[in-house]
């Protein structure tokens, strides 16, 4: 059966139908495999033997591997899906599973490993790190293969008992949509005889036939025992080849362990594995047609290495071989595939099987989904043809440091003319990708057409840009690289035409569809000069449509996807326009049918209107514009930002040479300030007359775009027109003015500020002291006002009231303009940490949303104050963040101790009084910290005058004399699941770390999977039928240690309690745990009402606000403080606002009711426990053993 799926879908379809158990853990880009398995399982879909596979989400990949090992030893057919760090965490069990000759297939969407930086994109670093485990490695190069070879792997593992890792390129294959033929259940049953399944089952543990497996072995036998498996591995290549042949017989699709394509007497050959092989194959065909004697050996089986098959595959005529590795092994003689191929050919030659020993060179390509194109392939062939080709090389980058890179012709285009190539530039929020996926489905179902789609997203979670690459043609499409010569370019936002490489991807004579408000006869004049130049130079046909208007008129609330999809069909010529329109309408009826006839009608009206309102623009013969494109960053930005960061921002990061990049992953902070994204048409605007200067709006702003300053009136001299100011609303500060400045170009228009504003205009409830207004009339004047605002004197931190929400608005945020979702519930907490402690802050950040909006290039939000001090930030891994943070603390403690010792030793030299003051200084209040900074300034001055050799050691650690604040930040996926063990240990360590858990109650970053923080009854991925386990009480766990400061906070419910808790936690000399309710787009809420939901979470008792302060216990008080009043609304009143709960009510109301009642009961029970604790005597709590009581 023909269908259009992505690689993940293709592989999961087989894995699910051939297994009984899936033990999984989400990780990009493999997550969709597990998610689909869970969906099928929740729908009761059976495998080919009638069993509905059980899907078990574990706390980590290490956990998944353990459960998998158990399931296999229990005799079940079990599988898992993973990538990257997840695969690394499975390594110990992989050795065990292989050592025990246990049949299974592990499906890997291959991805880079975190080294100098994390990358979610594809290469073979992860699979190469498991090549020694004893797993067979089978590689798929395309979506069809990911489907077919998943079955080959399943058949081969049961026949050989050797476990298989079946892998394909992350994103490039895992996320590429392509038209494939699906294998039927009969195919699966035919390839996997039931007796093999029963044999596998019979090897499971059973008390009826007891045995033991997993003994401890000694020097006498371990070695020999390790060698027992050799015959099993020796059989693998043959068995795999047989299985491939059987598949070929059934389907007509033939695969080999090593497939050779090209000239039968080729001289130059590339050896490659994965999707890159498709590109090489197509390029070889192209070059061969031009008379070149070239070829390619595409490996599918990598372990056990098919040396014989490889030797046989390569023609005897081959003189030069280049082996391409999609991984890097620093310090090695060469990358793994290269070494294997070299060894295999050398042995073959030595054995006399191959007369001519070719010269073999090895190179790296495509790391982290770096493009690998026909031009690069031709470049490698060209290098092979040289007299002395580089022995080790890279292709696809400019390595100006080690001179490894090969040059190539980027413009080489080998694609058949009949393939329609279309590229679409849109925003994540406008439905462009969804519409394109739909287009592929429509066209992919045409018997005469094949379709391919690949989607590129940018690094931000809000206002992100998407680029869709679509190909359609009469032949199967093997082009796993981006489209560079598009015959159709859709630009769905006028602004993108100037920001992105839209026209660069257009082929000469291409059609450009531009969505904009301008009339056809006005459009040309609005385009910048370089844009006009390119349109003329490439003789582009320009069509315009006002899709927004059509969508609005049709009642589609700005969803332009249907309109623009129609336009594509109307002018691209892929199908006859009339037929295409009919197909769109049918598809609309299918997609929207369940939402009612009216919705269908609205969309279908939009389709008709689109055709009518699409206009071809008459283009003058010459450029008429004078306007140039605006530079991506301002001229005053630091050099690194202007050269490196800016290149990444405008999509030219690929062009950066190796020398431009830091050698060790160290990047400057504070770069988001240079990226004015202007993503929202509506932005916050201050009404100075209504404002009571409470600071709420600034406190809750997730993007730090609302800033306050108080300053002497005299500073207003020279203020630009329209600069807003009001007398400071505070006693004792006469002649002082107040300004609340909105950074409009950074505002996302989320509206949290408006919701948080406590005042309304008389007679107009809806008008607040801060409102959302159109940005257009505000610019460019607002830029001048911001510039003026920034030169106002900074607020004096030592005079700010840190104890009140109102006071904190005068503390500059050192976390600003992140790419988090509009209205993010996490970032206000991080901003608060940065405001309170930013200038002496070190952050260990677990992988997750906060590490992405906090640390994803090109620009990052952590920044510095006017003195250049600010948060130092690092991300280690997902699973080890607490330990990582503890390490930072230990280093700081050690160096503080060293600094104090060295300072004491230099007492005579620098002055006893100053030394005593520094060593004895209290450092809790801001004024005390300020005084210490001043003393350290004085110390620096005195050290300057000393013999530097004597003071050098002190200088290297002197900054530790200011109390350092170490924060460990992560989400609930980290704190409750994967990092739970480490967090528990660190909390039990007694060391002074501050742990902030940004609790969204799901894995937000990977797309909404269940965590142990997910509430009872909530629907999430892996809990499609509603979660049936209550949340673990992380706070009580920590409280049980007695010496951990613990608080549960919710800014939207009680900002003052949040502030108090953060300050107490930081001041506490011991471990602190702050669990912060963070509303999230993944909860299915109106983000603008996020704070309201926080309020309801607390009011219903779902999220009781508590603090546990060991210092109070030390002073003989009850350390457990219940900060929120008794639940005063029903849990259901809170839950009904969120899709995660409503989803179950809609689907299974009886179960929703049952779980809802249990959840309500558990709220009551927990509240009773808390109330009891809040009324205990101090002595009823354990004492902190670290202190004298």
């Amino acid at each position: 059966m023909r269908t259009t799926v992505d690689g993940n879908g293709g592989a999961a379809s087989i894995a699910y139908r051939c297994n009984e158990i899936c033990c999984i853990y989400p990780i990009t880009p493999s997550s969709p495999m597990a998610e689909q398995a869970d969906e099928w399982s929740s729908h009761g879909q059976a495998n080919v033997w009638g069993t509905v596979p059980a899907v078990m989400e574990m706390q980590s990949e290490a956990g998944a591997a353990g459960a998998l090992h158990g399931a296999l030893q229990g005799g079940a057919l079990a599988t898992t899906f993973t990538s990257s760090q997840g695969l690394l965490l499975m390594i110990p069990n992989m050795y065990k599973i292989a050592g025990e000759l246990t049949s299974m297939v592990l499906h890997v969407a291959a991805r880079s490993l975190a080294a100098q930086g994390l990358s979610i994109f594809g290469d073979h670093s992860d699979v190469m790190a498991v090549r020694q485990t004893g797993f067979a490695l089978l590689c798929s190069a395309s979506v069809q293969e990911a489907h077919d070879l998943a079955l080959v792997a399943q058949a081969a593992t049961l026949r050989t008992r050797v476990p298989f890792a079946h892998f394909f390129d992350g994103f490039r294959t895992s996320h590429e949509l392509n038209t494939i033929e699906l294998l039927t259940d009969d195919d699966l049953r035919a390839m996997i005889p039931e007796e093999l399944v029963r044999a596998h089952r019979a090897r499971g543990l059973t008390p009826e036939r007891p045995f033991m497996r997993g003994t401890a072995q000694n020097p006498d036998v371990y070695f020999q025992a390790r060698e027992t498996v050799n015959p099993f591995y020796a059989r693998v290549p043959g068995v795999v080849q047989d299985a491939m042949a059987e598949l070929g017989e059934r389907t007509g699709r033939h695969y080999g362990l090593v497939d050779y394509r090209g000239h039968p007497e080729a001289e130059r050959v590339l050896v490659v594995m994965g999707s890159g092989g498709e590109t090489v194959r197509e390029t070889v065909a192209f070059l061969q047609a031009q008379g070149e004697r070239v070829g390619v050996a595409q490996l599918r089986l990598y372990r056990p290495f098919p040396a014989e098959a490889l030797a046989q595959a390569l023609p005897a005529s081959v003189r030069q071989v280049a082996v391409l590795d999609r991984t890097k092994e620093p310090g090695s003689l060469g990358e793994p595939l290269f070494l294997d191929v070299l060894a295999a050919l050398t042995e073959s030659h030595a054995d006399g099987q191959r007369e001519l020993m070719p010269s073999v060179i090895g190179g790296r390509y495509g790391l982290s989904s770096k493009e690998f194109t026909p031009g690069m392939v031709a470049g490698v062939f060209e290098e092979l043809g040289r007299k002395r080709p580089k022995r080790r090389f890279t292709i696809g980058i400019n390595d100006d440091v080690s001179a490894t890179s090969l040059s190539y012709d980027a413009s080489l285009d080998i694609e058949p003319a009949e393939t329609v190539r279309a590229v679409f530039f849109g925003l994540g929020s406008d439905g462009t990708v969804g519409a394109n996926k739909n287009t592929i489905k429509i066209l992919g179902s045409e018997e005469s057409l094949h379709a391919q789609g690949y989607f590129v997203y940018d690094s931000k979670k809000s206002g992100s840009q998407t680029v869709s690459h679509l190909r359609f043609g009469p032949e199967p499409i093997s082009a796993p690289y981006l489209i560079s010569q598009a015959s159709f370019v859709g630009c769905h936002h006028l602004g993108l035409l100037e920001r992105a490489e839209v026209l660069e991807r257009a082929a000469p004579g291409a059609t450009l569809l531009l969505n904009c408000r301008h009339a056809p006869d006005r459009v040309w004049d609005t385009l910048a000069r370089p844009v006009q130049e390119q349109i003329l130079a490439k003789q582009i046909k320009l069509y315009v449509i006002d899709a927004g208007k059509i969508a609005r008129d049709a009642g589609l609330a700005g969803r332009t996807n249907t309109v623009l999809q129609t336009c594509f069909f109307a002018i691209s010529g892929v199908l006859e326009p009339e037929e295409a329109i009919e197909r769109i309408k049918t598809s609309i009826a299918k997609t929207y049918g369940k939402r009612g006839a009216e919705v269908v009608e609205r969309n279908q009206t939009a389709v008709d209107r689109s055709v009518q309102d699409l206009h071809l623009v008459e283009i003058p013969e010459q450029v008429t514009a004078e306007r140039e494109l605006e530079p991506p960053v301002p001229a005053h930005a630091p050099e690194f930002v202007r050269t490196v960061t800016a290149a990444m921002m405008v999509g030219r990061g690929d062009e950066l040479p190796v020398s431009a990049l830091p050698v060790d992953g160290t990047y400057p902070t504070g770069t988001t300030q240079y990226e004015k994204r202007n993503i929202s048409e509506l932005v916050a605007a201050w009404d100075s007359e209504l404002c009571i200067q409470c600071g709420n709006c600034s406190f809750v702003c997730p993007h730090s775009v609302i800033r306050s300053r108080q300053y002497n009136q005299s500073n207003l001299d020279g203020a630009p027109d329209g600069f807003r100011s009001a007398p400071l609303n505070a006693p004792g500060l006469p002649d002082t003015s107040y300004t609340l400045q909105v950074y409009v170009e950074d505002c996302t228009g989320c509206g949290l500020c408006v919701e948080a504003c406590p005042v309304s205009a008389p007679g107009d409830q809806a008008r607040k002291a801060i409102n959302l207004e159109g940005i257009e009339p505000l610019l460019p004047a607002e830029r001048e006002r911001i510039a003026f605002f920034e030169q106002l004197p900074a607020n004096d931190r030592s005079r700010v009231d840190f104890g009140t929400v109102r006071g904190t608005q005068f503390l500059d945020p050192l976390f600003e303009f992140s790419g988090a979702c509009e209205g993010c519930g996490e970032t206000p907490y991080l901003k608060l940490v940065s405001q309170l402690f930013g200038d002496r802050l070190t952050i260990a950040n677990a992988t997750g949303c906060s590490s992405i909006y906090g640390g994803n290039l090109p620009t990052t939000p952590w920044t510095t104050d006017a003195d250049g001090h600010g948060p130092a930030w690092s991300n280690s891994l997902f699973e080890d963040n607490a330990e990582f943070g503890l390490g930072l603390r230990l280093a700081a403690d050690s160096h503080t101790e060293l600094a104090r010792r060295r300072l004491s030793e230099l007492r005579e030299l620098v002055g006893g009084e100053l030394v005593d003051e520094i060593l004895g200084a209290p450092q809790l209040r801001e004024s005390e910290l300020r005084a210490q900074r001043d003393r350290l300034g004085e110390l620096e001055r005195r050290l300057d005058e000393c013999d530097q050799a004597v003071v050098a050691d002190l200088r290297s650690v002197v900054d530790h004399l200011l109390r350092r604040s170490v924060w460990i930040v992560g989400g609930d996926g980290w704190a409750y699941d994967i990092g739970s063990g480490g967090l528990d240990h660190v909390l039990a360590s007694g060391h002074n770390v501050n742990v902030l858990v940004l609790d969204t109650e799901i894995y937000s970053n990977t797309g909404g999977q269940m965590s142990k923080a997910t509430p009872l009854g909530a629907v999430a991925k892996f809990a499609s039928a509603g979660k049936t386990m209550p949340t673990k009480d992380l706070a009580l766990q920590a409280i049980s240690y007695a010496n951990v400061y613990v608080a549960r906070v919710a800014m939207g419910a009680d900002p003052q309690q949040t502030l108090t808790a953060f300050r107490e936690a930081e001041a506490y000399d011991g471990p602190s745990l702050l669990i912060a309710y963070s509303h999230c787009i993944g909860q299915g809420i109106e983000m603008r009402h996020g704070l309201d939901q926080q309020y309801k979470a607390v009011a219903s008792g779902h999220w009781p606000l508590i603090r546990y302060d060991p210092m109070v216990r030390a002073a003989n008080g009850n350390p457990f403080l219940l900060d929120s009043p008794r639940p005063r609304i029903l849990l259901s009143d809170y839950r009904k606002e969120e899709l995660r709960f409503r989803a179950l009510t809609k689907r299974d109301p009886a179960e929703a009711e049952r779980l809802g009642e249990l959840a309500q009961q558990s709220v009551r029970q927990r509240w009773e426990i808390y109330e009891e604790m809040a009324t205990r005597r101090a002595a009823d709590f354990p004492a902190d053993a670290r202190r004298d009581q």
């Binding site: 990009t28 880009p29 969709p32 998610e35 869970d38 969906e39 929740s42 979610i120 994103f171 996320h175 925003l427 994540g428 929020s429 439905g431 462009t432 990708v433 969804g434 989607f455 997203y457 931000k460 979670k461 809000s462 992100s464 998407t466 369940k594 939402r595 009612g596 006839a597 009216e598 007679g763 409830q765 979702c821 992405i852 937000s1004 970053n1005 990977t1006 797309g1007 909404g1008 629907v1019 999430a1020 991925k1021 499609s1024 039928a1025 787009i1081 993944g1082 299915g1084 809420i1085 109106e1086 983000m1087 899709l1139 995660r1140 409503r1142 989803a1143 009510t1145 809609k1146 689907r1147 299974d1148 109301p1149 009886a1150 929703a1152």
Partner: protein, 337 residues
């Protein structure tokens, strides 16, 4: 104990007191309390197709929010969360309520689309509803819509639902027709098993303090019973459909009055909301006591005693004073404008 049993649309009822659609019938427990207090039947709270659809659209939008924007989180919900499952929760209530009590449970429906009316009505029947009450809550906001069109809409909806289900179908009407009598006859002819008089429309109010338009919902008072009672008296015997009185039932006297005017059953929500479901017992005990005092043996005996006689001529109308009352009612009805 007085025998209060009666029939309504062919359904056997212990007594003529019916709990009409209200928040009290939001839960099975609520329905049980009403039945425990003695009501003869329960009309469940209405299923509003429009709300259902708006909810589905909102959920689809929320499930869609943030998707296809960032490579790691191309969606946030399993597909099940995006799907529209229709009114399963409401149907569960119908099913459970019907199973929980031994009196007829009548489902109430407010549709929008033709399929909405028929599909939901059929699903309600399948879930165990003893009858369907069509809550055709329609206020033509468009001033160009003619009265005839409005009436036709009622008739069409009724016919469609009658074709779709086998259980009895009642139509709940508003009082704002040019000729209430004629529409009643038309609905009767179109097969209505009962006419429920009258629906009360929720009309927005104005808050002079906040200067905002606010939802207006006032519980009915006995004085509001005058108009429906008049129409019941007029329609008694002139339509085949059963007649259900609703609005303005506060104490047993009000029940008695409706029965005397010719109602088959008397519905109440406001009094039960005001005093609690147990107030049904007060109404029924009071009705029994009054019947005992007046020497009535059965509801049948007194029903319609004071309806407009079938052979009444114009002067008879005058004599009964109903027309006068009608005029007064009209004045009240329009004075709101």
């Amino acid at each position: 104990m007085m025998d209060l049993s009666t029939t309504y649309m062919g359904l056997e009822l212990h007594n003529p007191l019916v709990a009409s659609a209200s928040p009290l019938s939001h839960t099975v427990d609520g329905v049980r309390r009403l039945v425990d207090a003695g009501v003869g039947a329960v009309v469940l709270h209405s299923l509003f197709e429009e709300q259902l659809r708006e909810g589905a659209e909102l959920d689809a939008r929320l499930a869609d929010a943030g998707t296809e924007s960032f490579a790691e989180s191309l969606s946030y919900f399993p597909e099940v969360a995006e799907e529209d499952y229709g009114p399963r929760r409401h149907l569960m209530l119908v099913e459970r309520a019907a199973a929980a009590v031994d009196v007829p449970v009548i489902a109430s429906l407010n549709g929008v689309t033709p399929e909405g009316w028929t599909d939901h009505a059929r699903a309600m029947q399948d879930a165990g509803a003893a009858a369907i009450e069509l809550n055709i809550y329609y206020l033509p906001g468009d001033p160009s819509v003619t009265g005839r069109d409005v009436e036709q809409r009622y008739v069409d909806v009724l016919q469609r639902v009658k074709d779709a289900v086998t259980v009895p179908v009642a139509v709940k009407l508003g009082p704002y027709f040019s000729s209430t009598g004629e529409i009643a006859l038309r609905l009767d002819e179109a097969g209505a098993d009962a006419l429920v008089l009258f629906n009360r429309f929720l009309q927005p109010d104005i808050d002079t303090e906040t200067l905002a338009v606010v939802p207006g919902l006032a519980l009915s008072r006995p004085v509001d019973a005058l108009l429906p009672r008049t129409w019941i008296a007029l329609l008694r015997g002139r339509v085949r459909s059963a007649l259900a009185a609703t609005t303005g039932v506060e104490d047993p006297v009000d029940v008695a009055k409706y029965l005397l005017a010719g109602a088959d059953v008397v519905m109440t929500a406001s009094a039960l909301l005001r005093h609690g479901p147990e107030h049904a017992t007060v109404l029924l005990d009071g009705l029994s006591a009054w019947m005992t005092r007046k020497g009535f043996q059965s509801v049948e005996e007194l029903r319609g005693m004071l309806s407009v006689p079938l052979d009444a001529d114009a002067s008879a109308y005058e004599r009964t004073g109903y027309v006068t009352t009608l005029r007064a009612a009209n004045v009240r009805a329009y004075s709101a404008w």
